[in-house]
């Protein structure tokens, strides 16, 4: 959905649903997913509809993902870290993760 204006100078690699996504150091998880061509980051706990980041400023909670095993993190507020494991969140969160 998005492309980078310039190839990033400092590259980190994160994993999204098992696939490697290259990101710029300084990206948030949501930005890295948008740039990585991932077209939705979760499905809703109510109807199961797919959702993608909507506001990118921490208010809409559409970019909830599982980061390093912890569910319901706001992807637009969490900076990427090399080796980070991100999973799209399917429906209701599972207790204990």
């Amino acid at each position: 959905m998005f492309k980078r204006l310039d190839e990033a100078a400092s590259i980190v690699a994160i994993e999204v649903d098992g696939k490697t996504v290259r990101a710029r150091s300084g990206d948030t998880v949501a930005a890295a997913m948008l740039a990585g061509g991932i077209d939705h980051c979760r499905t809703t706990p109510v109807s199961g509809a797919p959702r993608a980041p909507y506001c990118l400023m921490g208010v809409c909670f559409e970019c909830l993902v599982t980061i390093d095993g912890v569910g319901s993190r706001q992807g637009c507020l969490v900076p990427v870290r090399d080796g980070m494991r991100v999973e799209t969140q399917q429906g209701k969160r599972e207790v204990g993760r």
């Binding site: 109510v46 569910g71 319901s72 209701k92 969160r93 599972e94 207790v95 204990g96």
Partner: protein, 374 residues
């Protein structure tokens, strides 16, 4: 009787009033339901949604029987509501737990239950004390600190907000006149009918049923009744939606059909519904995590505080006026648990014009005078 606008005016649009109004409409009464506005002090928006039996009735054995009657009627009540509205209030009665986090808490629990069951005339509702391993068979996610629990097979829960909506939907369908922003200023009886004055004008009705929660304290004396109340504040913590993991309600913690986990049961002496004591929420959270350690990382999305409707001795009040025939008062803490009784038992009595003494005499406010005299 004069040509009143309505057969019965029910005062209070919460769960007690709505259940009563629905029951009256089913009896063929023309009903007006008078309610306050959007920011009313409303226990029905902050309750814990348990249909709860265990530990009810210590000090008044009849209350245990009254509670079991409603619990037994609940499945039919829910089914009728679903038939009328298409809405499922998700009543479930899998049995419920009261968890203890120390030997002292468990002993206190056992003592309470023993005293309860030793009362003459008590209905037996088969509550048992279980140890950690027995509890863990049914609640596999409990923490090590849970030493045991009391368990009652009659306990259950519903989706109480959906019950609230369902009752209002059913009232609308049955032609009950819902009158929001009609705070009742005064009630008088003239020419065989009641005049309820509000800022929006007067409402005239042949009978009046006061179901205004703690505000019954103000209204009841206008029609020769009394409702001595002792309001208290309760707070609830609510989590995000989770996949089903908890299949039984716990008295302080339950998972709703929507997936959220409600954590609560605090009691504070306060009548300010807007206030919130963070340390109380913290205590609720701390105990919840000790009871179910898997919840530690779960997000809290809301807290809520509400003022409990509580009579001075904690038991319901159902009375009819001697000086103002046709005036009734209903007061109780457990508007969810007792909703089936209010709809199916009390409302028909009001429709007939007299309370059935066999069933509700123990809940007359006259008991407060007996205690004072004694």
């Amino acid at each position: 009787m004069a040509a009143s606008d309505y057969d019965v005016a029910v005062v209070g649009g919460g769960l007690v009033g709505a259940a009563t109004a629905w029951g009256l409409a089913r009896e063929g009464c023309r009903v007006a339901l008078l309610d306050e506005g959007d920011r009313a002090v409303r226990a029905s928006r902050g309750n814990f949604a348990l249909v709860w039996v265990q530990s009810k009735g210590l000090g008044l054995a009849a209350y245990a029987g009254w509670t079991v009657r409603s619990s037994n009627a609940w499945a039919g009540f829910a089914a009728t509501l679903k038939e009328e509205t298409g809405l499922d209030v998700c009543f479930q009665r899998p049995g419920g737990f009261h968890l203890a986090l120390s030997e002292r808490e468990l002993e206190a629990r056992a003592t309470t239950l023993k005293r309860l069951h030793n009362q003459p005339g008590i209905v037996d509702y088969r509550t048992e004390i279980l140890d950690h391993s027995q509890v863990a068979k049914m609640l596999p996610d409990i923490g090590r600190e849970v030493v045991g629990a009391s368990y009652c097979p009659l306990d259950g829960h519903v989706n109480s907000l959906r019950l609230f909506r369902t009752l209002h939907t059913a009232l609308h369908a049955r032609g009950v006149k819902y009158l929001p922003s009609h705070r009742v200023g005064n009630i008088s009886r003239e020419g065989g009918e009641f005049h309820l004055s509000t800022m929006q004008g007067a409402v005239r009705a042949g009978r009046v049923a006061l179901a205004a929660g703690n505000a019954n304290m103000r209204l009841a004396p206008m029609v020769g009744l009394e409702a001595p109340m002792k309001p208290e504040r309760g707070q609830i913590v609510v989590t995000e939606r989770l996949r089903p993991f908890l299949h039984y309600p716990v008295v302080t913690l339950r998972q709703t059909d929507e997936g959220t986990v409600m954590i609560g049961d605090s009691k504070e002496e306060s009548t300010d519904p807007a206030g919130l004591t963070l340390g109380v929420s913290a205590t609720e959270a701390e105990r919840a995590v000790r009871q179910f350690p898997l919840l530690a990382n779960v997000n809290v999305v809301r807290t809520w505080s509400a003022i409990r409707v509580m009579t001075q001795d904690g038991f319901p009040i159902y009375d009819e006026s001697e000086t103002h025939p046709g005036a009734f008062v209903l007061c109780c803490h457990s508007g969810v648990t007792l909703a089936a009784n209010h709809a199916l038992t009390v409302a028909p009595m009001i429709a007939r014009g007299a309370l059935d003494k066999m069933l509700v005499a123990p809940f007359s406010a006259r008991r407060f005078h007996v205690q004072e005299a004694g």
